[in-house]
């Protein structure tokens, strides 16, 4: 359902109906007037490949996992069953699964630098044997986590009288273990002096483990550290299931998941003289299918596509995507707002979605002349750029996401709003939602301004303009720049969005 075929079919029928978004769930909802702790603010959201799990990371270095509950009743072929029995009325529902402390605050003594514990990105890896695997990163260190149900061990029936040991508490316990260490170190007392009877010693027996309950355990399996001089902004798994990349401001490194003590630098944009620095890497992602391709975005608003086959050092891109801006509209802010804060490949691997401060752009990797679609997100803020620069909001990094079928895109905004656009041929869908229990509270205003499609003659390039002066709404309220919705993720197979409003995780479905 995620391939181009579906898309073509839809396009031939006409644009799909705009989705009717409904509130599904909220985790960590704030009560009125409750003060938000800095450490609780969510800084990363990611669904796993199946959509059965969701992970969030926060500024306190914690990772929280959620699992889908609405499909759990049907072990095995739930997907088929679901399609047969419940065609419409089910939507993804999640429950808290577990959480763990992924990163701790650190201090780099060599550089006299504090390293925050804030989770910058989370990426899920291939699960195996019922265990979940994920990568999490802060500014400097990437960690590989395994989350697994472990049996709670209750050992009984020991050879050495354990009742005595238990009766006398830990002191005896420790004395047993030290004495046994001695035996093991000496070793000889078993090996040399002993003749083993053929039937063995009947008095010896194995300990019996009784365990009925299981416990979820998160264990850090590998730590990929000391490879980045600058702050890591993205990590991305390769489709080969073997490698991943990590990108900081100036470099992209390639890792093997199993090898934590070496990585290969594949992109290095650091100029010989730092004064010549004009552009930094802002985000990087592997192609979802081709293991040799990756894309990275820059602060100058360009996206570079790299083919790792061409060369070991990928300093030259194989394709460059950027939009020439109109020289007439240039201003002091032009470069700042052109900076791309996030890129995502569509599932089909043909399109890349990028987010800059003002817009969402959809690119076709076969067309480097310009984006196939541009969606205005913050056009209404253009008159206020000066204020936004003053209070640093202009540097906010909004993420973006695509639906699994590639028909829609979404991104966040201020006042805890997020916007969903239809990107299929001829679609004028542009919905503004608020991360609250009543997401359509503001829809009245936005739907009153009908979306206008400015399709070009070729029909390939189209621009969708939605409500463009949200900032000053009917009540004269201005956008609240302190409440911003930076992080959101679209469920890989269903129309369901998870988004973070400060410390709360809101989920919507359509």
């Amino acid at each position: 359902m995620s391939n181009g075929g579906a898309k073509a079919a839809v396009a031939s029928v006409g644009a799909p109906q705009p989705l009717d978004w409904k509130f599904s769930q909220v985790f960590g909802e704030r009560t009125a007037g409750e003060e938000v702790q800095e450490v609780d603010i969510i800084s990363a959201i990611e669904f796993d490949g199946t959509g059965d799990h969701l992970a969030t990371g926060d500024r306190g270095g914690r990772v929280v996992l959620f699992e889908r509950t609405d499909t759990r009743d049907y072990a095995g072929h739930w997907r088929d069953l679901e399609k047969m029995d419940y065609p419409m009325n089910r939507h993804p529902e999640f429950r808290y699964k577990t959480e763990f402390q992924s990163h701790e605050p650190e201090f780099d003594y060599l550089k006299s630098l504090e390293i925050e514990e804030k989770i910058n990105k989370i990426r899920w890896c291939q699960s195996a044997n019922g265990a979940l695997f994920l990568l999490s990163t802060n500014d400097k260190t990437i960690k590989f986590w395994k989350v697994q149900e472990k049996k709670v061990k209750k050992v009984c029936d020991m050879n050495v009288d354990s009742s005595k040991a238990m009766g006398n508490g830990p002191i005896v316990d420790s004395s047993i273990s030290t004495s046994s260490k001695q035996f093991i170190e000496n070793g000889g007392c078993i090996r040399n002096d002993f003749s083993f009877p053929t039937g063995g010693f009947p008095s010896l027996h194995l300990p019996v483990v009784t365990s009925l309950e299981t416990n979820l355990m998160a264990r850090c399996r590998r730590i990929y550290a000391h490879a980045h001089d600058y702050h890591i902004n993205s990590i991305s798994n390769n489709s080969d299931g073997e490698t991943f990349i990590s990108a900081d401001d100036l470099r992209i490194n390639l890792w093997n998941l199993e090898i934590s003590n070496q990585s290969f630098n594949i992109v290095d944009v650091k100029p010989a003289n730092m004064e010549d620095l004009t552009e930094v890497i802002t985000s990087a992602e592997f192609h979802p299918k081709h293991c040799n391709m990756l894309a990275y975005s820059s602060s100058k608003g360009s996206i570079r596509l790299i083919d790792m086959r061409q060369s070991a050092l990928c300093d030259t891109h194989s394709k460059l995507f950027e939009e020439q801006d109109d020289p007439g509209t240039r201003s002091f802010f032009t470069e700042i707002i052109a900076s791309i804060s996030d890129i995502k490949f569509a599932k089909d691997g043909r399109h890349i979605l990028s987010r800059d401060y003002m817009t969402l752009k959809l690119w076709d990797i076969n067309m480097d002349s310009g984006p196939v679609a541009t969606f205005q997100v913050h056009e209404h803020l253009r008159p206020k750029l000066c204020d936004l620069y003053e209070n640093d909001s202009i540097f906010d990094k909004f993420e973006c996401c695509l639906s699994g079928d590639g028909l829609r895109v979404a991104t966040g905004s201020y006042s805890n709003l997020f916007r969903v656009f239809g990107c299929s041929e001829g679609s004028t869908e542009a919905t503004t939602l608020e991360a609250s229990k009543n997401p359509t509270r503001r829809q009245g205003q936005t739907s009153s301004r009908p979306c206008r499609s400015l399709g070009s003659l070729s029909g390939v390039v189209r621009r969708v303009k939605g409500a463009n002066n949200l900032g000053v709404d009917a009540n004269g309220n201005t956008s609240d720049f302190t409440t911003k919705l930076l992080h959101l993720a679209w469920h890989p197979t269903e129309n369901s969005i998870a988004c973070a409003a400060s410390n709360s995780l809101y989920m919507y479905y359509a």
Binding site: N129, N159, F183, F196, L204, L206, G241, Q310, S311
Partner: protein, 587 residues
């Protein structure tokens, strides 16, 4: 709760600690699994220990890894090969864990056990296990399965063989790239057991599928195995089926694939015979030597000598030598370094004339390379050159290169050249060495970097060994002893270090007459560091010189030092005196 009689106590603890909370203790117990098995006896090992271990699969990886290894040699403890199949159950579970090294070890152990099992048992127990793993829900099981087919296949009846081949074919087309990679890297093992007819049909089909995989990493591994696969085929089949694939791969879009070809090409040559080498592989190799990716050229350059060895000298001169010339001027220093490390080996292949005429200029230009590794690589293979062109021709260009390296501003480079000095001395002979290199050896003793000074002292020792005490007396000792008057205490310390190393080589007489007085003199140094080093050197010389000298010279000196105001000096002096007493007592 039972009580155990005293002699069994250690084993009882060992068994209990299989479930201890401390991972180190669990590890220790697992490592001693054979002891536990012997204590339980064969029957209870089969009926209790093995099932117990089979359930023990959610332990830490380190423990699982140790368990996988122990089980591989466990056949004697379960009652011999007729009971070997009981070991399959715990290893099957270990084949499915996520940690690669545990799975690999489990597969290795299964192969070990399987190769000892009786044919009927293999059919009854081993093959079903392979099939179960190959149909496993998680990719980890399927990855492991690929490494087991070559054990299961030979003993299987015909229908089962057909089935196994078809299952392997499916694994080659698995959804998960990890499984396909494992299928690709194990294909040649499996192919080695398959009958020739099926080899040509089924296995070659799998090979071709893998070579067309859209994941680079899969194709890469398909290349890696193709030389081994080629050797299983008749030369003409190899030329017909494998050769075209390799030639295509040598022009693959991915540099990593070409890199792999560059590494494998030489081995494949052995499988195809001379004619295809000339028509197909040589042009492919020349292309790789001129590849636009430096990594590929590095790999290709590293094989240049081996490749020349299988060619006729004419072909080598005609086709390879021009490339070698280009590579010696390559823009990448790593390519030049790779070339420099093997290029000397070409000399015997090309013969003296071609070497002097064509190879020598290349060799000299590499010796003048701006990148020290290139020069070092040449110097490290000096014995090979010497054989072909003689030292006279070489020394003119060699010496400037050595002098330059000896003074390189990177101390690691200086260190590397010092390591080669005894080799050079050996090749160049005493006369040449005295003139040119003697001075350098002394200069290093006063280097700014400790590691260099230390290596220089060691170097003197090795030279003394090479050229003998007389030579050392004449050429080393006078210059070295002069350092005793150096104003820098670190240099004086190097002297002491050198003396402690050279003394044993030169023997008692020279040590007593020349070295010892200098050491004793140094005991009156104003720097305490020198003084306690004197104490250490004296201690080391006790065994070199006669008892009488010890009593007459070393002891008084140490006694004096043992009353030094500095605590460290006193400490080492006392240590020295104690060693004297020990020697005296034992003699």
């Amino acid at each position: 709760m039972s009580t155990v009689e005293a002699p069994l106590y250690p084993i009882a603890v060992l068994i209990d600690e299989l479930k201890n909370d401390d991972i180190q203790l669990r590890l220790n117990s697992i490592r001693r699994l054979s002891t536990i098995a012997r204590a339980l006896g064969e029957e209870r090992t089969r009926s209790e220990l093995i099932p117990f271990l089979s359930e023990n699969n959610d332990d830490d990886d380190e423990v699982l890894l140790a368990m996988a290894e122990e089980l591989g040699v466990f056949i004697p403890y379960v009652g011999g090969v007729e009971h070997a199949h009981v070991l399959l159950t715990p290893l099957e579970t270990l084949c499915t864990v996520e940690e690669t090294c545990v799975r690999d070890k489990a597969v290795e152990s299964l192969c070990k056990i399987g190769s000892q099992m009786r044919e009927n048992d293999l059919i009854e127990w081993f093959t079903p296990l392979v099939k179960r793993l190959a149909a496993g829900e998680w990719f980890t099981a399927r990855v492991s399965a690929c490494g087991l087919f070559h054990i299961a296949y030979p003993s299987a009846p015909e229908t089962l063989k057909t089935e196994l081949r078809s299952i392997y074919g499916q694994l080659c087309q698995d959804d998960m790239p990890m499984v396909r990679r494992s299928a690709a890297s194990n294909l040649w093992k499996f192919a080695g057991t398959v009958e020739s007819a099926h080899l040509k049909a089924d296995i070659m089909q799998m090979f071709e599928d893998l070579t067309q995989d859209d994941q680079d990493t899969v194709r890469l591994l398909a290349v890696e195995g193709c030389a081994a696969l080629g050797k299983l085929l008749e030369p003409q089949d190899c030329a017909a089926r494998i050769l075209p694939v390799i030639v295509t791969f040598s022009q693959d879009k991915s540099w990593r694939v070409r890199y792999m070809v560059a590494n494998q090409l030489y081995e494949l040559c052995e499988a195809v015979g001379p004619e295809p080498i000339r028509t197909d592989l040589l042009p492919a190799y020349v292309r790789l030597l001129r590849d636009n990716e430096a990594e590929v050229r590095i790999a290709a350059a590293g094989k240049v000598t081996k490749f020349c060895q299988i060619l006729s000298p004419e072909l080598a001169i005609q086709h390879i030598l021009p490339c070698v010339k280009e590579l010696s001027l390559d823009s990448s220093q790593h390519v030049r370094a790779a070339l420099a490390s093997v290029v000397m080996g070409m000399a015997p292949v090309l013969g003296k004339d071609a070497t002097i005429e064509q190879l020598l200029p290349i060799f000299l230009s590499l010796l003048k390379d701006e990148f020290p590794d290139v020069r070092l690589n040449i110097i490290s293979k000096l014995d090979q050159v010497n054989q072909v062109i003689g030292i006279d021709l070489l020394s003119q260009s060699l010496l400037p290169a050595i002098v330059e390296l000896a003074e390189d501003r990177h101390w690691r480079v200086r260190l590397a050249i010092i390591e080669y000095i005894p080799l050079l001395a050996n090749q160049l002979g005493v006369g040449f060495f005295d003139d040119k290199l003697g001075g350098l050896c002394m200069q290093w003793l006063q280097d700014k970097v400790y590691s260099i000074r230390d290596a220089a002292a060691n170097n003197l020792k090795r030279l003394a060994e090479e050229f003998g005490p007389d030579w050392a007396m004449q050429h080393i000792i006078p210059q070295v002893l002069e350092i005793a008057n150096d104003s820098h205490y670190l240099h004086r310390m190097t002297l002491l270090r050198a003396i402690s190393l050279i003394g044993p080589v030169l023997g008692s007489e020279i040590t007593c007459s020349k070295l010892l007085p200098v050491v004793v003199n140094a005991s009156k140094d104003r720097v305490p560091n020198i003084k306690f080093n004197v104490a250490k050197v004296l201690q080391s010389l006790i065994s070199v010189v006669d008892q009488s000298v010890v009593e007459k010279t070393i002891r008084p000196c140490l006694v004096e030092l043992s009353e030094d105001p500095d605590v460290d000096v006193r400490y080492f002096a006392v240590q020295g005196l104690q060693s004297i007493d020990q020697v005296t007592m034992s003699s």
